[in-house]
Amino acid sequence: MSGNPRNDLILDVKKLCMDFGGVRALSDLDLDVRTGEIVALIGPNGAGKTTFFDCVTGIDAPTSGDIFFIPPGKARRRINGLKPNLVTCLGMARTFQNIRLFPAMTALENVMIGRHCRSSAGIPGAIFRGKKTRKEEESIVIHSYRLLERFGLAKYTNELAGSLPYGVQRRIEIARAVATDPCLLLLDEPAAGMNLQETKELVELIRRLRDEDHISILLIEHDMKLVMNLSERIFVVEYGRRIAEGNPREIRVSPLVIRAYLGEDVEDA
């Protein structure tokens, strides 16, 4: 597909454990994403997928294990317990399962927030509004608007995010994440609540992000058609453990996976 190097790792997670009190949400989870890859993380409800995202992005600090993040052209870095905003600054962005836009801000302002870590105006800049600050502000607005345009959201520019339809909100959330200039994008159930047409557009969009923007993608999704269609590698987790890894063809026939999804008694799916 795209010509970029595809063998170097961008995310390397080793033996990740996460305990909540006495409950082990993740146990010895290994996962890796290579540059330019689209990887899916699937598993039944409550398997620990979102917890995994929270650990990787710094929202929760993992109990043990290592998370290495290797932005292309930069040094390999252990990011366990790093603050979420620093993880984002390093180049990893995410969306949330239950959409977490800023409802009282417009679509454009939401995307502009994504530019925060790529701009630098401080208090004096804001008060005196010098040439540099105005220029930066203008570039934030234009960059954000271009993103909205690319995502087909230009007509919602000045609408409050909280009042927009579900599918649109999902796309704004992705646009906001992309605005942080990530090299790795984590999408938590991007197609949830979308209809067929919207899902199709979403697949296109994710492909474009990978091919045009060279963003590697790790996604959680329950829509198997989308997962099989889009991802190059799939990790399956159940009760916080990794039970399978492989390309879509292998996963589809893996007896362990079928059992995890359909229960013990079913022999054939």
Partner: protein
């Protein structure tokens, strides 16, 4: 299309129902106030007086008030029901008028002219009240950063006000520093205390934050009250000099007018700075923090830095307000910095509309000037004041002037493509 007669028929039972309910309300009120309003024991003659007339007034008054209330509420609900498509004239319609330059320009010009001639037309007493109201505008705008923009409920804001006032009083007492030297020092002191308060409460939000800040406000007040060596205790500090003007000796009237213009300038400065902050990268980060803390961090915003900035920049204005307060009253003691002050400033922010600058200005004038001009009603003063606040919050819960969102136009950009 519903025939007119049908609609009238539908309306009629509504009317009778409303009357019935109002009647019941009146009955309840009459019953409840009966012992208080009707029976009066005359202790000198040992007889009981029955004042039936006051019961009648009470009943009629509450009946009509209840009817009016119901009518207004119904209109409000009818207005809310069509929000989706077109709202009745007030609502965004009024907001649009408020943002229409054809309306705002002459209005602003009028306000500016009035502000300019005000101190020369009115008595020193009234100019003093106006200075007080304008000080509250500054305080309200400062708290607006913390509460309205960053969404951090701060109930101890008056502490920073006290820090500014005592800063001026003590620096003047010990080192003889003047108003103009201390004004920036007061700002820095305020900001420093803002950060001092900010650090321990970084992890808290909502109710917990409110309680801790409330405690902080009380701690500062109690320290001022009890640490006699530092603050001279409850007796306070007197003879604080008024602001000087190149060493000129001025009488009380002219120094009041002078202070009035200082406060006007201060207000304009605050409004400019706060509006610029709000529309900046930092202001957006505050709003994002208010809307969703987790998402805000995940988008690369440093929560710690953003919160501390809000606390520091909010407290800066309180520090400066305190310096002005000390200079105006020439006497301060801890009794001026009770929780009531914090509550008042918070009421200004909430009533004005969270995050709205003009709203805060308007609310500060209403809430500070109203009790002053209601003095004519003597004991009913605070009752009317309370009623005004209740009515304002019921009919405009979003504040007097809710913020209209900034819109961006990209006409030129689209053509380029």
């Amino acid at each position: 299309m519903i025939p007119l007669t049908l609609m009238e028929q539908a309306k009629k039972p509504l009317m009778t129902a409303a009357i019935k309910k109002a009647f019941l309300t009146a009955l309840c009120f009459m019953l409840l106030t009966f012992p208080l309003l009707v029976i009066r024991v005359n202790t000198t003659e040992n007889i009981i007086e029955w004042r039936w007339k006051s019961l009648l007034y009470m009943g009629m008054g509450s009946f009509f008030l209840s009817l009016l209330w119901r009518y207004l509420m119904e209109r409000r609900e009818a207005g809310g029901a069509v929000t989706g498509k077109q709202r009745p004239s007030h609502g965004p319609g009024m907001e649009k008028v408020l943002h229409d330059p054809r309306f705002t320009r002459p209005a602003l010009l009028f306000v500016a002219c009035f502000a300019l001639v005000f101190p020369f037309l009115f008595s020193t007493y009234e100019v003093n009240i106006m200075i007080s109201a304008l000080t509250y505008v500054v305080l309200g705008l400062g708290l607006n950063i913390v509460v309205g923009l960053a969404g951090l409920l701060d109930l101890g804001y008056v502490a920073f006000y006290a820090v500014g006032a005592y800063g001026y009083a003590l620096l003047n007492y010990h080192f003889g520093l003047g108003f103009w030297t201390v004004l920036p020092i007061g700002a820095v002191l305020g900001a420093t205390f803002g950060i001092l308060l900010g650090f321990p409460v970084l992890r808290l939000r909502g109710d917990y934050l409110a309680i801790v800040t409330l405690g902080f406000g009380e701690i500062v007040r109690l320290i001022l009250e009890n640490w006699n060596e530092l603050s001279f205790g409850p007796s306070g500090i007197a003879n604080i000099p008024r602001p000087g003007f190149f060493g000129m000796v001025m009488d009380l009237r002219s120094v009041t007018i002078y202070l009035y213009f200082i406060v006007i300038a201060m207000c304009l400065f605050t409004m400019l700075v706060v509006s610029r902050l709000r529309d900046s990268r930092i202001g957006r980060a505050w709003i994002a923090l208010r809307e969703d803390e987790v998402a805000c961090q995940a988008m690369g915003i440093d929560k710690t830095k953003t919160k501390l900035r809000a606390f520091a920049l909010g407290a800066t204005w309180a520090g400066m307000g305190g310096v002005i307060f000390a200079a105006r009253t020439t006497f301060i003691n801890p009794a001026s910095f009770t929780f009531m002050e914090s509550a008042m400033i918070l009421a200004i922010v909430v009533m004005g509309g969270m995050g709205s600058i003009w709203g805060v200005v308007l609310a500060a004038f209403i809430l500070i000037l109203l009790p002053e001009y209601l003095r004519a009603f003597s004991e009913y003063r605070m009752l009317l004041f309370g009623a005004t606040m209740v009515v304002a919050m019921v009919f405009r819960p979003q504040g007097l002037i809710s913020k209209v969102h900034r819109t961006y136009e990209f006409k030129g950009l689209e053509k380029q493509r």
